[in-house]
């Protein structure tokens, strides 16, 4: 739940323009990195599938504390890598905006926050997986929790810097309220870390080749680790 769940009109026009420029630069960078090695049909289909599953899963409401939902961006980063993951997060945000789950204008802010989650999720998982050979749960949990805790602070920072339209509070006065939001996002992020840890463990058991990119393995080496009958999962 580490989106900046701001609806349209919450940020002022100058700040919206500022964050949009940064988000456009991130998207341009992701597209540039992808085009350096041509995007195969398989990669395209996998990214699209990830976006649709990510969107569908993030709409499931867990009936706790008035309704929680998960973000899954660190997981997407681990599965498809940072450049493609950034674009997948963008597509999910566009679908979300179409149904009122975040605003159109705040797609830019969400993309910045989600890109951080995707990049941190991927590299933290790779690093932790290399360090901890015991299993996939701990790296999955650690990478996701780290990514979401950092992104919660980034999201709070964005709101603190930009301010909320029509609010008369100064940054200093708004800090306690924002701290509550950041704390709530950190708690949810740690919860999502547990969920992602289990998901990574599950995927690692049935299709370890899907984690090959994040684990720094070659596709052929990863394919040898696929258990028999995994296609029937």
């Amino acid at each position: 739940m580490a989106h900046v769940h701001l609806e349209d009109g919450a940020l002022s026009l100058p700040w919206l323009a500022f964050w949009s420029a940064i988000a456009l630069a991130l998207i341009a960078l992701a597209l540039y990195l992808l085009r350096r090695k041509s995007v195969s049909t398989r990669t395209l289909a996998i990214a699209a599938m990830c976006a649709s599953v990510g969107f569908a899963a993030s709409q499931i409401e867990i009936p706790l504390f008035g309704g929680l939902h998960l973000n899954l961006t660190p997981l997407i980063g681990i599965l498809v890598g940072p450049p493609l993951g950034t674009l997948v997060a963008l597509v999910i945000n566009v679908f979300g905006a179409a149904v009122g789950h975040g605003g159109w204008g705040t797609i830019s802010v969400n993309t910045i926050v989600n890109s951080i989650e995707v990049v941190l999720g991927f590299y933290a998982y790779r690093l932790m997986r290399a360090q901890m050979k015991s299993g996939r749960f701990a790296p999955g949990f650690g990478a996701t929790a780290l990514a979401l805790v950092v992104s919660a602070f980034v999201a709070g920072g964005i709101m603190l810097v930009s301010g909320i339209q029509d609010s008369h509070l100064t940054g200093e006065e708004a800090l306690p309220s924002l701290s509550v939001l950041i704390a709530a996002n950190i708690i949810t992020g740690i919860g999502e870390g547990f969920v992602t840890g289990y998901i990574i463990s599950f995927i690692g058991r049935v299709r370890p080749d899907l984690l090959a990119h994040a684990e720094g393995l070659s596709p052929t080496a990863a394919e040898k680790t696929i258990p028999e009958g995994s296609a029937n999962v």
């Binding site: 769940h5 609806e7 349209d8 009109g9 026009l13 919206l16 597209l31 992808l34 085009r35 049909t41 398989r42 395209l44 289909a45 996998i46 990214a47 699209a48 599938m49 976006a51 649709s52 599953v53 969107f55 569908a56 899963a57 709409q59 499931i60 409401e61 867990i62 009936p63 899954l72 599965l79 674009l87 597509v91 566009v94 679908f95 905006a97 149904v99 009122g100 789950h101 605003g103 204008g105 909320i164 339209q165 029509d166 609010s167 008369h168 509070l169 006065e173 708004a174 309220s177 924002l178 509550v180 939001l181 547990f194 969920v195 992602t196 289990y198 998901i199 049935v206 899907l210 999962v233």
Partner: protein, 276 residues
Amino acid sequence: MSRRSYSKHIPDFRLVTYFAESGDSPVHRMNPWTKASLLLIVVGLVTVLTELWALVSLFVLTMAFYAIAKLPVRVLVGWWTLPIMFVLTLSVLFAFTEPGNQLAGIDLLGWRIALTENGLMLIVKLLLRALVVVNYSLALFMTTRYTSIAYIAFRTLPKTLANMFLLSYRFMFETTDEVSDVLDAMQARSGSLAKGVTRQTRIFAGIVGISFVHAFERAERIAKAMEARGFAGEFPAVQKVPGPSSRGIALLVLASIAFALATYSRYFEEKLLMWW
């Protein structure tokens, strides 16, 4: 309608598509370029307008737009739940700390928590802004055919992004159904997502994990099928969408002038909108 949507509070893409493909109203017949451009202007307007009367007027206009499209208002009101929840989550924290005249308050453990006029106005304005865009956005997607959206996406987005966007949209129905099926299966066995923390985490992880594994397998099959049919990196645009008509251009020019005036009034000359 999907076999079972998650909640009546979350817009169902099948219902949205159903109205877009089968509806017949003046808004359905409106040029898709005009409608899409107006979305940007509506987002811009709610960003720069701060007067309550202006936001209420915009809200009424978007409701009228939705009603002219002959779309079900009751469904829309149900779909407001999500944006209202998001606005309240944020603004409630601010509303009780805003300076100004106190409307109500209580003393709690030595702390005074009070709702002020400014706080209440903050909630109302943020709600109006959010709902204006939700009304218009849903009206746009519930009155514009997939082929038109696809054409606009290919003309405005980089090719990789447009391909991803359109493929995801096509996959959305199947993945939503699959996730719904897993939730159905869980509930049929008297399961619930609200169990103990560990159990709940494992249940949710199982649902999402299976969905992702199936998604990858399906994507691999689809990629092979696409290549076998000669996919060369771009989906053929089946239906070209012509540019806006002269009336559409006039509407866009008027809306752009309104946006430009509102922006000028907000950031350069505060009293411009009140000149009369």
